[in-house]
């Protein structure tokens, strides 16, 4: 594969992980505009771990997932009792606050004769672990997609277990779910922890794949995309967000002529789909039909 294709395909993998984190929250009926913050926290955490502390990559990625998960849990505890768009606006405010904190965040140390580490608004340069340790971009791509496939398998197992319907029931109507004996708060907290871990992990990958991160990357524009992938692709299955990412990055961003108008086309697409198919292309009905076809074919 040439480097352009590798870049696009790893990008699709990382964004799919991030989109899955927003999808998990959508399942329990929470619209988060702030997943980019946990993505950013993961990116900074993983970068600091490998560059400044000399950790191995796997430990750094784990640390990124942990940081994302812990902060999202911390945000979820006070905000989950908020209803509907109050929650969305709270996550949006949190994410923007985090972005400004990144602009103020300086943690520089001497590494190999030069200063390294996050430098406020100038960003965090030279996260070169995969290049210094002879991991090719292609190997890194395989690593990203391995974890994405693992995450998808986890989602499918979750959907088939008793937890999946519970989460969807909470998303449909949490009062009803509570009346049916589901511990709504615990389920939502668990979903938040999972979502934060996915976003943090995606951020850890991102930092190492681009080697340079700056606060401006983790802006609301990224948040819209994250959320919209699930809404476009569909909320019926975990493959929905993946489809959304494919449409956006695989199609809109990769064609040179289109990429300039990407946000215009993408924004319009989101709105049209919200009107015509409020739960996305692969919504529950479509997924059921496809599953039926599949069974008959066997």
């Amino acid at each position: 594969m040439d480097s352009f294709t590798i870049g696009v395909v790893s990008n699709i993998g990382m964004m799919s992980l991030l989109a899955l984190s927003a999808y998990l929250l959508l399942l329990v009926g929470e619209v988060s505009f702030g997943q980019q913050a946990f993505f950013g926290i993961g990116a900074y955490a993983a970068g600091i771990a490998t560059v400044l502390w000399g950790w191995p990559l796997m430990a750094a990625l784990l640390f990124a997932a942990f940081c994302g998960s812990a902060t999202q849990l911390g945000v979820a505890l006070p905000t989950l009792r908020l209803r509907g768009f109050y929650f969305s606006v709270a996550t949006l405010a949190f994410a923007e606050a985090v972005r400004i904190v990144f602009e103020l965040f300086r943690y520089r140390r001497e590494v190999d004769g030069g200063l390294a580490g996050p430098d406020g608004e100038h960003g965090f340069r030279d996260i070169r672990y995969i290049y210094d340790n002879g991991i090719g971009t292609q190997d890194f791509l395989v690593l990203i997609w391995t974890l994405l496939v693992l995450a998808l398998i986890a989602f499918i197992v979750l959907e088939r277990s008793r937890i999946g319907p519970r989460l969807r029931m909470i998303g449909e109507d949490d009062v009803m779910a509570a009346l049916n004996g589901i511990d709504v708060v615990r389920c939502k907290l668990a979903a938040s922890a999972g979502a934060g871990a996915l976003a943090g992990l995606a951020g850890g990958f991102y930092a190492h794949s681009v080697t340079y991160i700056e606060p401006g990357v983790f802006n609301v524009m990224l948040g819209v995309h994250t959320l919209a992938y699930g809404l476009i692709g569909g909320l019926g299955t975990a493959f929905g967000p993946l489809l959304g990412v494919l449409i956006d990055i695989g199609f809109l961003e990769s064609f040179r002529g289109l990429s300039q108008y990407r946000m215009i086309v993408f924004g319009g697409l989101v709105v049209l789909l919200l009107i015509l198919r409020p739960r996305g292309l692969l919504d529950e009905i479509a997924v059921n039909r496809l599953a039926g076809l599949f069974r008959r074919a066997q």
């Binding site: 768009f85 405010a93 923007e96 606050a97 009062v175 709105v271």
Partner: protein, 300 residues
């Protein structure tokens, strides 16, 4: 020390009146439709960019620029309403909010593609030396803005409380179905309310831009966030709350700027919004418990 404190308060109130103007449009839409229009700032930005365009291309004077800004905002507002709010009237409020979020990004992209520079000059309206009161300085433009904010607030308050149109809006806000049963054209009233809010936004944007004498590509985001924080501070849906919230936000930001610098000023706005949502989601003047109870009862 005391002089600084008072001067900072004055600056805060001056900036706050801009926030208040934007918050009025936000809160008007929310009060009637019960929905959040996140594309509001971008709507105003489209209007401003239209104004800049006629100013730069044909050297139009301030009246033409003002009219173009207003028309542009209203046109963009209609676009948002038709696409994000009208088709989802029966659906959930969240869907409309997400749609408006996507449209926000779309409009911003359109504006920056049309006029790609980072900032553009905007014709000033009121010029002249700052008014001196003892040791304190107050810019004329800011005073003008504060007056306009109060006038718009009173006018809207009158419209909602005393006019027939306002009665219809309040009926719709109370119960859209009942309003339809007694013969109101709900769609039309909502459409008009939306246009009105966009026009208020256009006025706000024009005043702010002519005070700053420039418009940057960040305006859409700035307006949406400040308006949202101000409207939520005062309690979404309350017109006087929007003005109080705007002024309060301005003063808090001025103190934050004075004590910690510009980045912390922006940070303080987001932190206030976050803490407010967590501690008092209904705003300082709101009635959150009543809302929540009503919501639960409706679903049971």
């Amino acid at each position: 020390m005391l002089v600084d404190l008072v001067q900072n308060t004055i600056e805060g109130l001056a900036n706050g009146s801009a926030y208040a103007l934007i918050a009025l449009g936000f809160t008007l839409i929310f009060g009637v439709v019960g929905r959040l229009n996140l594309a509001y700032g971008a709507t105003i930005m489209i209007g401003l960019y239209a104004g800049i365009f006629v100013h730069a291309e044909w050297q139009a004077g301030w009246m033409v620029v003002a009219a173009t800004t207003l028309l542009g905002s209203v046109a963009a507002g209609i676009y948002v309403e038709r696409l994000c709010f009208a088709p989802m009237r029966q659906g959930a409020a969240i869907t409309a909010m997400v749609a408006s979020f996507a449209i926000w990004m779309q409009l911003e992209e359109v504006a920056t593609l049309g006029l790609p520079r980072h900032s553009y000059p905007f014709p000033p309206l009121v010029t002249g030396p700052a008014i001196e009161i003892g040791p304190f300085l107050l810019r004329r433009e800011h005073l003008f803005m504060l007056v306009v904010a109060l006038v718009v607030m009173v006018a809207l308050e009158w419209l909602v409380r005393a006019s027939r149109f306002g009665l219809a809006l309040r009926a719709i806000a109370e119960n859209p179905r009942a309003a339809r049963f007694v013969g109101h054209n709900v769609e039309r009233s909502l459409f008009l309310a939306f246009m009105l809010a966009s026009a208020v936004g256009g006025v706000a944007g024009w005043l702010i831009a002519s005070t700053d004498q420039q418009v940057t590509a960040m305006f859409g985001m700035w307006a949406t966030f400040k308006g949202l924080v101000a409207a939520m501070l005062g309690g979404l849906g309350s017109l006087s709350g929007a003005v109080i919230g705007g002024l309060l936000l301005g003063v808090v930001e001025a103190y934050a700027l004075w004590t910690f610098g510009p980045q912390v000023r922006d940070l303080s706005a987001y932190l206030i919004l976050f803490l407010l949502l967590v501690l008092r989601p209904g705003g300082l003047l709101g009635q959150v418990h009543a809302l929540r109870d009503a919501d639960t009862r409706r679903r049971l």
